[in-house]
């Protein structure tokens, strides 16, 4: 019983330290990826990663904290807070179903994250901006041309956002998968959801914390 309690505390501390690190990863990945590609944001890598290895709740906290930090740079991010939290929850839920153990399973999940990050975020911005386009690349490249072609404004915006976000999320998911595969198993199994993302079989009593 004493041993069990001690184990729980240790795991909590690791999660507690991973959360700020994941927020920092989100920021650094955004700076590196977006400044180079202008299409891939990469600002949800840390959220999905922590969601996958620590569970939905820590993932949601990372999402909320990331958005709070990003508010300093872009105030519109404050309305996106629930969505970034949803990334963490979705990643945790999928990890429990052992999605992150296979490359193809991970890639197939792209539309789920694309829908959250593209369609839902687009809808929120659409409402927050008084039913108008936001000045981002998805609007300029896809949304506005579709609108000019006669597609209703909301659908034109949502389709543009969805397509652009799917590109971003597929890269993020592949990177998260590669990061998980690169992490040593002895590290992963100490994390709350580590057993769901590693292919190695082990007995709980064999692990020394």
């Amino acid at each position: 019983m004493v041993q069990k309690k001690k184990k729980k505390k240790r795991l909590d501390n690791m999660t507690l330290l991973l959360i700020p690190l994941a927020v920092a990863i989100n920021m650094v990945a955004y700076n590196v990826l977006y400044s180079t590609t202008m299409v891939i944001l990469g600002d949800s890598i840390g959220t999905i990663l922590v969601g996958a290895v620590c569970g939905p709740f820590p993932g949601a906290i990372v999402g909320i904290l990331s958005n709070l930090v990003n508010v300093i740079k872009n105030p519109v991010m404050i309305v996106m807070m629930p969505l970034n939290a949803l990334f963490g929850i979705a990643a945790g839920t999928l990890a429990r179903r052992r999605i992150f153990t296979s490359f193809w399973k991970t890639v197939i999940c792209t539309p789920i994250f694309g829908f959250i990050g593209g369609w839902l975020s687009g809808s929120i911005i659409f409402l927050a901006m008084g039913g108008d386009f936001w000045g981002n690349l998805a609007s300029v490249v896809i949304g506005i041309p579709l609108f000019r072609a006669g597609v209703p404004k909301y659908f034109a915006m949502a389709v543009g956002q969805l397509l652009f976000d799917c590109i971003d999320k597929i890269v993020c998911l592949i990177l998260v998968f590669l990061i998980i595969r690169s992490l040593p198993d002895r590290f992963l199994i100490k994390l709350p959801y580590g057993k769901y993302v590693t292919t190695k079989q082990y007995r709980e009593e064999d692990i020394e914390f």
Binding site: N13, L21, A29, I78, F133, G135, S139, I179, L183
Partner: protein, 265 residues
């Protein structure tokens, strides 16, 4: 600073010698948050402009004014100009009173007002938040919040986030330099830059994550999870009556401003 002066600096309240920088962090946060949200909720250029000017005025009276105006200027150019172009492009040729003609097409007055609303919403919100973050030390804010009853775990996460961002950025630069020394090109055209992303990003993320184990041990050694009230090295002066009044007035003004703005603007 001698060792004695350094030790003495923690025996008294932390002061910077500027009225706004020395304003109680929580009172300052409440003031800035309420004004910022008023800007966001009302979404009219008149309100945004007032908050933006107020933030500029406050920033001008602090030592960070140069940095503030440089940053707000960059944000204005990058974010708002792009948004204005998109909005004008979308609304070009729409019916309604014409403001001017662009490339032979009419730009309605409504489009200009919509642009102004968006610009000053962003600038007002951003301005007041920048003033807050540039003049407040996070450790002081977290210390005050902890005194008010916030969990030490939450304040640790917030503080740790800011320190992690700084350390991971330093690590990124170090890894970039190391990879360059190993012959991986990190500067050049787009293709070269894209190719260099993985060799730079991966070591940073993996090494930071695996380093967590050592930090966990260090936290346990310092009894982080032990029950009891956490101690703090820095002392923050309790909020004065005037500071509390400013915060309360800001909240009342914001609520009234939101109602009035939605009804009359």
């Amino acid at each position: 600073m001698t060792e004695e002066q350094f030790v003495d600096s923690f025996r008294k309240y932390q002061k910077k010698g500027n009225w706004w920088c020395d304003f109680h962090p929580v009172a300052k946060m409440v003031t800035c948050l309420s004004l910022g949200f008023m800007c966001l909720i009302v979404f009219r250029w008149q309100v945004g402009l007032i908050i933006f000017l107020l933030a500029g005025g406050i920033a001008f009276l602090t030592p960070v004014w140069k940095k503030y105006f440089k940053m707000i200027g960059i944000m204005f150019l990058l974010g708002c100009v792009f948004t204005v172009i998109v909005r004008l492009y979308v609304h070009m040729g729409d019916p309604g009173p014409v403001a001017f003609y662009l490339f032979g097409k009419s730009v309605p007055v409504a489009a200009i007002i919509s642009c102004l609303d968006l610009i000053f919403m962003i600038e007002g919100f951003l301005g007041i938040f920048l003033v807050f973050f540039m003049t407040t030390e996070m450790r002081d804010l977290c210390c005050c919040l902890e005194q008010l009853g916030m969990s030490s775990t939450v304040t640790f996460m917030v503080l740790s986030t800011f320190s992690s961002i700084t350390s991971i950025k330093e690590k990124l630069n170090r890894v970039r330099e190391s990879q360059r020394a190993r012959g991986i090109e990190t500067e050049g055209n787009l293709f070269v830059k894209v190719k260099s992303i993985l060799p730079v990003l991966f070591p940073v993320i993996i090494s930071s994550m695996t380093g967590i184990e050592d930090k966990t041990l260090a936290m346990d050694a310092r009894a982080f999870a032990a029950d009891g009230v956490h101690t703090s090295l820095r002392k923050i002066q309790p909020a004065k009556r005037s500071e509390k009044t400013v915060a309360v007035v800001a909240v009342i003004v914001s609520i009234l401003g939101c109602v009035a703005g939605k009804l009359f603007l």
